[in-house]
């Protein structure tokens, strides 16, 4: 089977690339095992992994085609002949098939883990299919470059060039994101890639890649230079057309749900809500909030609710409530504790004070005191952040007082804390 796919080259020319693609794909997935399994993000990995796999696949396709494209080869006459096989398509599909199988095997563990542990949604077929189209696009680039410069020694250079090409969406022009498989946009639990952007990208990849595969035909007649150059120019022209369309009329690539589902649980007077994709976090989150509210001594004025950002409409904070937005898909439960404690200590009020009054000195002092209070609250709640040294209770000053005395002060000054107005006794 492998010999058949690698033919006419040795089986190692299929096995080695397959092994490399598998290793790189699996290696890129490793870090995602440390995150919450969410279908939008996992589905997008099918094209985001092409950041490294794409250049590798392009280099594989380049090497194979450049190897078979010896200019003085025995095959020159056959390639020009009317009955010649569509050699470029045959080699294109073989390289794609080998890489696609290896890519799939490399992605399987993270997809299996997501299938087993994700609590909401399902695989996004569009994002996944786009990954395989992107793979074909990488093969087409490699084959096209091999037809232009059939020198296997340039294989590493091709990998570097394609690597840089796939970086463009994040460093140069956003328009490139509309025509390249890699997006460099981590998807949150409530986000998805829009059908319009997916279709545009799919169409662009098919058109540009198809033009490149057609242009990669070898053995064109030296007596017909125009016929030789036109397909290559055509491929570049197709790319340019799609780039211009994407730049002039950019489609929204990612959108968040307008009314995302949420699961809420009131705890000690604070409403704690998460997106169903973060269901598993709800018990820990409610326990963290409950411990901090108990440490505070009452339901703090500064925090009426704690919401997972994915459970809120984009940019929306429920009116009349102070809500802590947690990026649960990017943060740990420990940092959730940090966010809630600093919110309880009035940190948001300090920032608002600077913004409204411009009194930077007063509110920066308030920020420092809010930080101290947050630290004390976490200590009382038994939360230690991984980045923090163990809490050493001060022997003098406000936080040297007994906890009940501090809680009594907080009860009396709850609104002041929420507004970042700390009295002299705090000093």
């Amino acid at each position: 089977m492998i010999r058949r796919i690698a033919w006419p080259l040795a089986p190692v020319t299929a096995l080695l690339p397959a092994g490399l693609v598998l290793a790189v794909t699996a290696g890129m997935s490793v870090e995602h095992f440390g995150r919450r399994p969410e279908w939008p993000a996992t589905s997008a990995l099918a094209h985001e992994h092409l950041a490294l796999v794409g250049p590798l696949v392009a280099a594989i396709a380049f090497h194979r085609w450049a190897t078979l494209a010896r200019p003085l080869g025995l095959f020159a006459a056959a390639r020009l002949g009317g009955t010649g096989k569509p050699e470029h398509w045959a080699n294109f599909t073989r390289v794609w098939a080998v890489c696609a199988v290896a890519y799939t095997v490399g992605l399987l563990p993270i997809f299996a883990r997501t299938a087993a542990d994700a609590t909401y949604g399902g695989p996004a077929a569009g994002s996944i299919l786009l990954g395989y189209l992107g793979l074909a696009f990488a093969v087409a680039i490699g084959q096209f470059l091999a037809a232009v410069a059939p020198l296997p020694v340039l294989t590493v250079l091709v990998a570097v060039l394609v690597f840089l090409l796939f970086q463009l969406p994040q460093v140069v022009l956003d328009a490139f994101g509309a025509v390249l498989p890699v997006q460099w946009h981590p998807l949150a639990a409530n986000e998805h890639e829009t059908a319009t952007a997916l279709l545009f990208r799919a169409f662009a990849l098919i058109a540009i890649g198809g033009a490149m595969v057609l242009a990669s035909r070898l053995g064109r007649s030296p007596d017909r230079p125009a016929r030789t150059a036109l397909p290559a120019l055509g491929a570049v022209a197709v790319l340019a057309v799609f780039l211009v369309v994407a730049a002039v009329n950019p489609a929204t690539r990612v959108t968040a749900a307008a009314d995302p589902p949420r699961r809420c649980q009131p705890v000690e007077g604070v409403e704690v809500c998460v997106h169903p994709a973060h269901d598993a976090d709800l018990p820990d989150l409610t326990a963290t909030v409950a411990a901090l509210v108990r440490a505070y001594g009452r339901t703090p004025a500064a925090v009426a609710g704690v919401h997972d950002a994915a459970s809120l409409p984009p940019g929306e904070v429920p009116a009349g409530r102070v809500v802590v937005r947690l990026l649960l898909d990017q943060t740990t439960r420990d940092t959730a504790g940090e966010d809630v404690s600093t919110a309880m200590a009035g940190f948001a009020g300090c920032l608002r004070g600077i913004r409204v009054t411009g009194d930077r000195a007063t509110y920066e002092a308030g920020i420092a005191r809010a930080g101290e209070l947050a630290r004390w609250l976490r200590h009382q709640a038994g939360i230690t952040l991984p980045s923090e040294a163990p809490y050493q209770p001060p022997t003098t000053g406000f936080f040297a007082k007994p906890p009940d005395e501090i809680r009594a002060w907080l009860a009396a000054n709850d609104d002041n804390v929420a507004q970042c107005r700390y009295g002299a006794e705090f000093a």
């Binding site: 033919w7 006419p8 080259l9 040795a10 190897t67 078979l68 010896r70 200019p71 003085l72 080869g73 025995l74 095959f75 020159a76 006459a77 056959a78 390639r79 020009l80 002949g81 009317g82 009955t83 010649g84 096989k85 050699e87 007649s221 030296p222 007596d223 017909r224």
Partner: protein, 244 residues
């Protein structure tokens, strides 16, 4: 145009120029069945004629026709061994030959069987699984010929196949060409008169893009015995007389 009973390839008033420099001007040439030798000094236009014959280049004017002696069946009707060719060193001999057959229109299975037959024809069966890089110059040429004939073309075009070979290898290669010529039309470009004397029934002498002679060997040597020495003498005389 000369009249031959079985014209397999016909060039009719064919002209070709390279970078505006005329290489062939109004060439009329009829290749009969059997082995035809195409001889001439370096730069005479032999490789251009062959490139036109196999379709690698296209005439600026005129017509080239190849007789269809088997009703258009199978793959391409012409097989070609260029004077200089590179092979993929890591590819096995059999795969190289089979790939050429596949490119020439056979399907994968048929290409494999065709490769085996072609390797038997050139006595390379025992090296079929060897990587091409392990072949000596003579074996490499034979592998090239196998690749040119694997799809069983009606016409086999060989451009200087014996160049660079030692005498022993040359003799063995001639035997291979002779065997091919038993069932196919062969056009053999060479500057070695020995090759022509030993293999060809017809000879064409090309010089500065013009056909100076075309006909049976006996006619070139004017009735004398066909030997390499006689041929060489006739060839020199022909070109010398024309040059003057």
């Amino acid at each position: 145009m000369e009249d031959h009973a079985h014209v397999i390839v016909a060039f009719e008033d064919v002209s070709y120029s390279y970078r505006r420099k005329p290489v062939l001007t109004g060439l009329n040439w009829a290749v009969p069945a059997g082995i035809t030798g195409l001889v001439g000094p370096n730069g005479a236009g032999k490789s251009t004629v062959l490139a036109l014959l196999v379709g690698l280049r296209e005439p600026r004017s005129g017509r080239i026709t190849v007789a269809d002696t088997r009703g258009g069946a199978g793959g391409r009707r012409v097989g070609y061994l260029p004077q200089r060719f590179s092979l993929v060193p890591s590819m096995r001999v059999r795969d190289t030959v089979a790939y050429a057959a596949w490119l020439n229109g056979l399907d994968r299975t048929a290409a494999g069987a065709a490769a085996d037959r072609a390797l038997a024809l050139v006595d390379l069966v025992d090296r079929a699984d060897a990587p091409v890089r392990t072949l000596s110059g003579g074996l490499r040429q034979r592998a090239g010929i196998a690749a040119a004939v694997a799809h069983e073309p009606e016409i086999v075009v060989l451009d200087e196949p014996t160049v660079g070979l030692d005498p022993g290898q040359r003799v063995r290669l001639r035997r291979v060409v002779e065997r091919i010529g038993e069932t196919r039309t062969v056009v053999l470009a060479t500057h070695l008169v020995e090759d022509v004397a030993n293999l060809c029934s017809t000879v064409s002498v090309l010089d500065e893009g013009e056909l100076r002679f075309h006909g049976p060997l006996t006619e070139l040597v004017a009735g004398a015995e066909v030997t390499a020495a006689a041929l060489e003498e006739a060839y020199e005389r022909l070109l010398g007389r024309e040059d003057r």
